[in-house]
């Protein structure tokens, strides 16, 4: 199969239980190349668990999980290490390593791969510039605000240019301007870098921004976030709504806003 036509992520009838509790109950979906799948649902409906399944941090009870066309369902930890090089993960609170500086956190993956210091420094500076945090390079995580921690988390996930990025509620608990900055970063990656992603959130403002706007480079060569004007621009963002471990909605933003399902309507309020 040509590389471009392979689905970035695919779940086939995935079931996961923790003891008697069913977390995911036959979940199937596909994330196409360059697509952002927004995963919504109440607390404890298996959103973060879905991301951990993609990374192989958890294994499903049954079903299949494919990453970049590769069936990783039964991969061992050592096999998953190679798959994880294609994936960047942004954790809920950043999950930065407390004992390492911003520079060491962002350059962690390269340092572990034995890259030379010059390459690490160049990559870290470029990546921090992308998230607009160059000034924080020598700070420790404890010196950063919540929003800065998330952005450093995004920068760390971006090192190695992964084809897939998983966002686990990256805007939870942030003030609206900072949350907006995070969404714009996700748009830049989706529209300008062609990154595929799953964006877990329960903030409807994030979902609206990602579904109705896109990043582009304007006539002056500057980055601009503008409203979508063509249907294909809407198609790059798709929604999944989870409830009690099952998918109750799958489709684009317009279908979500016009849904008559009482749970979804209540959720969108």
């Amino acid at each position: 199969m040509p590389e471009d036509s392979r689905n970035a992520i695919e779940f086939r009838d995935v079931v996961l239980t923790f003891g008697p509790q069913v977390i995911l109950d036959g979940v199937s979906f596909v994330v196409r190349p360059g697509e952002t799948k927004i995963l919504m649902g109440g607390s404890g409906t298996g959103k973060s668990t879905t991301l951990k399944l993609v990374l192989g941090l958890l294994k499903p009870d049954s079903g299949q999980i494919l990453v970049d066309g590769e069936d990783v369902t039964h991969y061992k930890e050592s096999q998953m290490m190679k798959v994880r090089q294609k994936i960047g993960m942004v954790f809920q609170d950043g999950a930065l390593f407390d004992s390492l500086s911003v520079y060491q956190n962002v350059g962690y993956r390269l340092a572990e791969q034995g890259a030379d210091e010059e390459e690490i420094e160049e990559t870290v500076q470029r990546t921090l510039r992308f998230v607009n945090l160059e000034q924080a390079i020598s700070k420790m995580p404890s010196e950063l605000s919540g929003g800065m921690r998330r952005r450093v988390g995004i920068a760390r996930a971006l090192v190695g240019s992964p084809k897939i990025i998983l966002y686990d509620e990256p805007t939870a608990g942030l003030d609206p301007p900072t949350a907006r900055t995070i969404c714009e970063l996700a748009m830049k990656l989706r529209d300008l870098e062609g990154v595929s992603s799953i964006f877990v959130t329960h903030r409807i403002q994030d979902a609206t921004s990602l579904a109705r706007e896109h990043a582009t480079i304007d006539d002056n060569g500057e980055l601009a976030i503008v409203k979508n004007t063509r249907p294909e621009q809407n198609a790059s963002t798709q929604f999944i709504v989870l409830r009690s471990g099952k998918i109750i909605f799958e489709g684009d933003g317009e279908a979500l806003w016009s849904s008559t399902d009482p749970f979804i309507q209540k959720f969108l309020e």
Partner: protein, 239 residues
């Protein structure tokens, strides 16, 4: 499994030499002052306690022998291991537990690093190597503590005390005195790392894991001490 996976890490790249040296510094150098202090006073109190009993038999010249054998065979390894469990084992559990609940362990795996090799192996190696070294220092300072009491309060000549110490110890004591702390170091490392990596339930969970780690380590040290003593006795009686 934890031990097997940690040691397998020694044969695969990258080998975390810097982390291992850092842990040896934290665990070895960090625990040295309290080990020396504890060793000195244990030696001193042993001399004080035994001298009175020995005096009633006119055998106070054996004070050095009692201090040395008690320290090298039992008290040195066991008390050093208990200090390690309280100081380093608890620290390891709290650190790894905090990393677990704040998703740093997951982040490490997501970034392609095996936490067993990066976090467990250096701590295990450091404890395996440092526990016997600390025990030897504790034993030496304990014998010194006994000498201070023997020469000042009991008025024993230094030569009598030292020759008594020298006569007391044989190769089996030294073998047992090094075998025990190595096993105890392994126990502290396994229990500390395992409790940390299995932590759940936020900051309360970290506290719970840390307490559990210290209690389980100390119990396992005391239980294994009995079997190790049996082993050393069995080996020493083998012709």
């Amino acid at each position: 499994m934890l031990v097997a996976r940690s040691f397998r890490g020694l044969t695969q790249r990258p080998v975390y030499v810097r982390e291992t040296v850092t842990q040896m510094d934290i665990i070895g150098v960090g625990t040295l002052p309290i080990t020396l202090l504890a060793g000195f006073f244990i030696g001193a109190v042993l001399a004080l306690q035994t001298a009175k009993t020995l005096q009633s038999f006119g055998a106070q010249n054996f004070t050095g022998r009692l201090v040395a054998t008690s320290l090298v065979r039992e008290l040195g390894p066991v008390l050093t291991a208990i200090l390690l469990a309280g100081r380093s084992g608890s620290g390891i559990t709290a650190e790894l537990g905090s990393m677990k609940v704040s998703e740093q362990i997951d982040a490490m795996r997501a970034l392609g690093t095996d936490p067993i090799r990066k976090l467990v192996m250096p701590r295990m190696m450091a404890l395996l190597l440092m526990a016997p070294v600390l025990t030897v220092f504790g034993d030496l300072v304990g014998v010194f503590g006994g000498w201070v009491i023997a020469t000042t309060l009991l008025k024993l000549p230094t030569s009598v005390y030292l020759s008594s110490v020298h006569e007391a110890l044989n190769y089996n004591d030294i073998f047992g005195g090094l075998l025990k702390p190595t096993v105890f170091g392994l126990i502290v490392a396994i229990v500390g790392c395992r409790s940390g990596l299995r932590t759940t339930g936020g900051t309360v969970g970290v506290g719970r894991s840390t307490t559990q780690s210290v209690v389980v380590s100390i119990l396992l040290i005391l239980i294994s001490d009995f079997f190790l003593t049996k082993l050393v006795i069995a080996l020493s009686s083998t012709p």
